[in-house]
Amino acid sequence: MEHLWLIPAFPLLGFLTAGILGRRLPKAAINAVAVGSVFLSLLWSVKSLYSLWPLEMAHVERYFDWIRVADLRIGCDFAVDRLTAVMLLVVTGVGLLIHIYATGYMAHDNGYPRFFACLNLFMFFMLTLVLAANFLLMFVGWEGVGLSSYLLIGFWFLKKSATNAGNKAFIVNRIGDFGFSLAIFLVAMNFGSLDFGAVFQGLGGWPVEQSAGTLTLVGLLLLVGAAGKSAQIPLYVWLPDAMEGPTPVSALIHAATMVTAGVYMIARTAPIYLKAPMALEMVAYIGLATAFFAATIGLAQNDIKKVFAYSTVSQLGYMFLGVGVGAFSAGIFHLMTHAFFKALLFLGAGSVIHALAGEQDLRRMGGLRKKTPITFWTLVCASVSIAGVWPAAGFFSKDEILIAAYYHAPWMFWLGVVTAGMTAFYVFRAIFLAFFGEYRGDAHPHESPPSMTLPLVALAALSIGGGLISVPRWLEPMFPAPEHHSPALVVISVAAGLTGIALAFLFYVVRPGLADAAARHLGWLYRTVLNKYYVDEIYNATVVEPVVEGSRTVMWETVDVEIIDASVNGVAARARGVGQILRKLQSGYIRSYAAWVLLGAVAALIAMGFAGGAR
């Protein structure tokens, strides 16, 4: 026993402390509790992994039977294997840095205790999700992170747009969760267990499905779940709106950890996908489409957080592409490096926003290079990493994915390369707009406090050096992948990144007017991209409006009022009518009651006599 349960228990304790006593505790105590609990989680994770080294086999801990129905046993079990180890360290490590950052970022907010309570609650559920040894416990974590995400997106609940964004995230996720739960039912029906180990063992007897079968259906339903949580087409719409939450939330939940849960889940259920190639192929298509599509939107966004949000969607698409073409380890590798550089991008953006007192529009920034040097340089590190320039971390992971895609289908590689170029372009566009040229706003920019810049520096180091951690080799025992070496492909992808950077430099630093001119020339295409392909509007018209209207006319005005209310009122009226008759018996004369009781007793005795019950 390594007492793995302690890892999520610390944040849960932090949540309870901050949530119940929060208002009565001084700020320093909340800081200590919130950051300390995550730190203890990290320490305990490291300690457990150290003692379990080298973790060739999965280490399972069974605590108690949670649900036991007929033959189905669902335990409260935690498990650690090499995949979990990566996730644990990413979640607790990045989580710790972001907690530290948040102590500075949220310092002046009224909801300080509530914020950290929610953040700790999120950590608890995320760690449960990661450590879960069966589908249902994973689902608990899955739902829990959704809940904390909802709470944190709507953290500033006085802002209408924030609560709307929270609702949207929750409802869209619900669609994905629906798919996930159906998949869980299917698994339980077909395997009689929900335990990962048992299910994967039972999988051995199943053939690889060439056409659509049960496993394909399971895979597709899991994909629906993953698409909801990881913001893939067609369920990505909630993620850009989720930027309404505080920036540390965007960094932690909507960039580094929660949104990667979908990728983690697909990697975790890889044995199922390997038996269902069609479903896996579908993962790749969805991922590639999302990567490309989101990248195009990102080109035209003016809100710095929106740019990074679409970049997150796009990068998640990359990860899906990776796992979809069978390179699970590459997908997880990218998940990790992405956690580093995307957390850094968001935290940097947060630092910029903090410096400009809440300003998020790129058009009202500029020239911040001198005012906020640490933020600038760390953001450059992150951008280089996301652009996939050697030797930054993003280079290694992105190349693994692209090369695997090439050997799967070359056209996927080419589309990926174009996407990589666009990614480099829009990220550097944001950097150049914010830090170069003249300052276009009217605030007084200043560098952020050390509690914010220190995590930035740490993450910058990870973004640059993180590629040296060879996750694919670490995951070799779980996901064996063929070694592909192709220097030419590497050169092409790096060249695409560099081209993107160069174009951005040309458009926004050398010839600042060029971008507007290009936008004017492209006309409707630019407007379409600027308006995100009108996807929200289309969804509104095709899904939201009919549902709302149907609820109002059918469910409320017909079913509720005319059927349910009417029947309830009818029952009440009938009861009243019967009562009117029966109240004659309730005369208030005790002796008449006694007579009725006597009558009843005599009747009961006679009935017993006839039934022969006296003996």
């Binding site: 002796r591 007579a595 006597l598 005599v602 005795l605 006679i606 006599g609 006296a614």
Partner: protein, 166 residues
């Protein structure tokens, strides 16, 4: 001997019980009821229930009925008045009571043939020791619940009494 004792005290019990019902003054009814209880105590002795016989006298006659008589004397109400509807109650009630008694007797004779007799001294289990053992082992929970019931009754009676004072 058994039969004589039984018949004497059964007769006393029935006569007293009739007296309870027909006497118009409550105190006569109460004293007749004490007569019933005393006769029953003797009959309990015949059935080998010494402790219950003593408890019958101690609790019923010695405590409960004293309370009744105390209240009757305290309120000092006279004989009850005849009220309207009395003959109707009698008209409807008497056949019902006859039916009840008839059915009960029928069931008793049917279920317990005459040959099952009662011999004085054939069963001597009703000692304090046996009953105490039963109460404090098998029936411990009911016993404890009963004690709570009594506590509640005390509190209730005191509360009602206080209200009366002010």
């Amino acid at each position: 001997m058994d039969a004589i004792v039984f018949l004497i005290f059964a007769g006393v019990a029935v006569v007293c019980a009739i007296n309870v019902v027909v006497r118009v003054h409550p105190i006569s009814s109460a004293l007749s009821l004490i007569g019933v209880m005393g006769s029953l105590a003797v009959i309990y002795l015949l059935l080998g229930a010494q402790f219950i016989a003593a408890a019958q006298v101690f609790v019923y006659a010695g405590a409960i009925m004293v309370l009744f008589i105390f209240v009757i004397m305290l309120l000092n109400t006279g004989a009850e008045e005849r009220s309207r509807g009395a003959w109707m109650a009698r008209l409807a009630g008497t056949p019902l009571l006859m039916a009840l008694l008839g059915i009960l007797s029928f069931v008793i004779f049917w279920a317990f043939p005459r040959r099952i007799g009662v011999h004085f001294g054939a069963f001597t289990g009703g000692t304090v020791e046996n009953i105490g053992r039963a109460i404090f082992t098998t029936y411990l929970l009911p016993f404890e619940i009963t004690s709570i019931l009594v506590l509640i009754a005390i509190v209730g009676a005191v509360t009602l009494g206080y209200k009366e004072l002010d």
